[in-house]
């Protein structure tokens, strides 16, 4: 038997009402814009290849059969939703659980609630305007927001860190890190540019973002591409946006990569990196690639962490204060 102590929810009952109100407001917002709510499987045949995301896995077993192939709990509904877009769904949104192993802390629970939506025909900047409108609606009087700020990644990074993220050498990053009280960063990051950017951005830039207003950071360096398109007029950056509020990362969006060959190359690059690091090697999502080959409509999409938004609305200090049963009590 599992431990019987601590059976009570970690959040006050008021947080249940706040969550219900938030979910209702999200649905009202999208219904008002004529966007279709969808559901896609949580349990998937293929997992994410991103070396920074670790999926929970299980094995399927058909009735009376031996255990079949490994299945993955989704880390986000992105691939399934893109297949719907190719199938002609038009703009869609989804509120669902996502699962990420090896993520747990004050701002992370391995199981969490995502709001993800795709806008057919939208540029990244049109999507940013819509995210701002959604936040204004959801935060309302509980968390009055000023007009959002928009920063190019290179500009805000240079302003806060004092080095150009696109051109600085590792030695220059190390010098800035020392000056900013992070002398250990040099040994951690070495020559790895992406790691330098992750460390300096998350330690120096992010804590100052989203004070009293949403901060959107766009034009991410091309070494942090994820599933974003390269900007056609500047191949050093990709059409990716992150949104921050109250120092928290609330969401990540892209002008979605539609080129199946480039998508497959990024899968291969991820898998090569995983192989070097001794991480599990999930199969590439063949159905996503086939769908992209059939033609993804031009679209932008974003995923927002609803638990973190709820934290801000409830003025909670940790994600456990807005979840009924965080992983320790699940």
């Amino acid at each position: 038997m599992t431990d019987g102590t601590n059976w009570m929810p970690t959040c006050p009952l008021g947080a249940l009402r706040k969550r219900a109100k938030l979910l209702a407001a999200v649905r009202r917002f999208f219904a008002g814009r004529g966007i279709l709510e969808v559901e896609t499987p949580l349990l998937c045949r293929s997992g994410v290849t991103d070396p920074h995301l670790q999926a929970f896995t299980t094995r399927i077993r058909l009735p009376g059969a031996r255990p079949g192939p490994e299945l993955y709990l989704q880390t986000s509904p992105e691939f399934a939703m893109k297949r719907l877009l190719v199938a002609g769904s038009g703009s869609i949104y989804q509120i669902c659980k996502a699962f990420r192993n090896e993520e747990s802390g004050r701002h992370h629970n391995p199981e969490f609630t995502l709001l993800e939506w795709y806008r057919v025909g939208y540029s990244l900047f049109e999507l940013i305007d819509e995210i701002e409108a959604l936040f204004a609606e959801l935060c309302g009087e509980d968390l009055p927001l000023q007009a959002a700020e928009r920063f190019a990644y290179a500009d805000i990074f240079e302003r806060q860190v004092g080095a150009d993220p696109l051109t600085a050498t590792p030695a220059e990053f190390a010098a800035r890190a020392r000056a900013l009280g992070l002398p250990e960063a040099e040994a951690l990051c070495g020559e790895d540019r992406s790691l330098w950017l992750d460390l300096l951005f998350s330690h120096v830039v992010q804590p100052r973002l989203g004070r009293g207003r949403a901060s959107f950071v766009y034009d991410y360096p091309a070494c942090l591409p994820s599933l974003a398109r390269k900007r056609p007029d500047d191949p050093r950056v990709v059409e990716r946006v992150e949104v921050f509020l109250g120092g928290l990362e609330l969401g990540n969006g892209f002008h979605e990569l539609a080129d199946a060959d480039e998508q497959e190359e990024r899968f291969e690059r991820d898998l090569a990196l995983r192989r070097r690091q001794g991480l599990p090697l999930p199969p590439k999502d063949g159905r996503l690639l086939a769908a992209l080959r059939a033609g993804l409509p031009d679209c932008s999409g974003v995923a927002i962490g609803l638990d973190r938004l709820l934290m801000l609305l409830a003025r909670a200090d940790s994600i456990g204060e807005v979840l009924v049963f965080p992983i320790e009590r699940a």
Binding site: D50, L182, D198, L199, H203, Q206
Partner: protein, 188 residues
Amino acid sequence: MATVSTSEFKGGLKVMMDGDPYNILENEFVKPGKGQAFNRVKLRNLKTGRVIERTFKSGETLETADVVDTDMQYLYNDGELWHFMVPETFEQHAADAAAVGDAAKWLKEQDICQVTLYNGSPIGVAPPNFVELAITETDPGVRGDTSGGGGKPATLETGAVVRVPLFVQTGEVIKVDTRTGEYVSRVK
């Protein structure tokens, strides 16, 4: 000693870093949605008392430190070292001024203190939360003067100086909270 990874870093865990023993105070998991996971850890150097912050890649490990907190009775000071004894075993340990630090001004013979041993030697001493000490010197209070709630300074038998109410006199024993250095009450 065992090794522990960032996921096991918890408040109170003693680890070795750069050759010194540290006490972990806080451990914050920091991870961009699409990026490397880090742990931002706050630690206190058990030798110097200095608190620092250090970032680790999630999954990095440190050696645990051979550090134990033991209740000991304070025996005496020989002019250079403070001597303590484990009451159950009569095992004695001598701590130098660096290890005793600010605790020195609260140490009264026979009081039970918490002594931190690193590789068997004292590196820290925590006095009891409350101590009872006699006042060796304080100005006589002016009778009837209840104004000026700030009280007056009083020197205690261990040399510590605390603020006491005006009615407390030389020779009286008072109870002091060593964590704040504040007067609590008179002891009859």
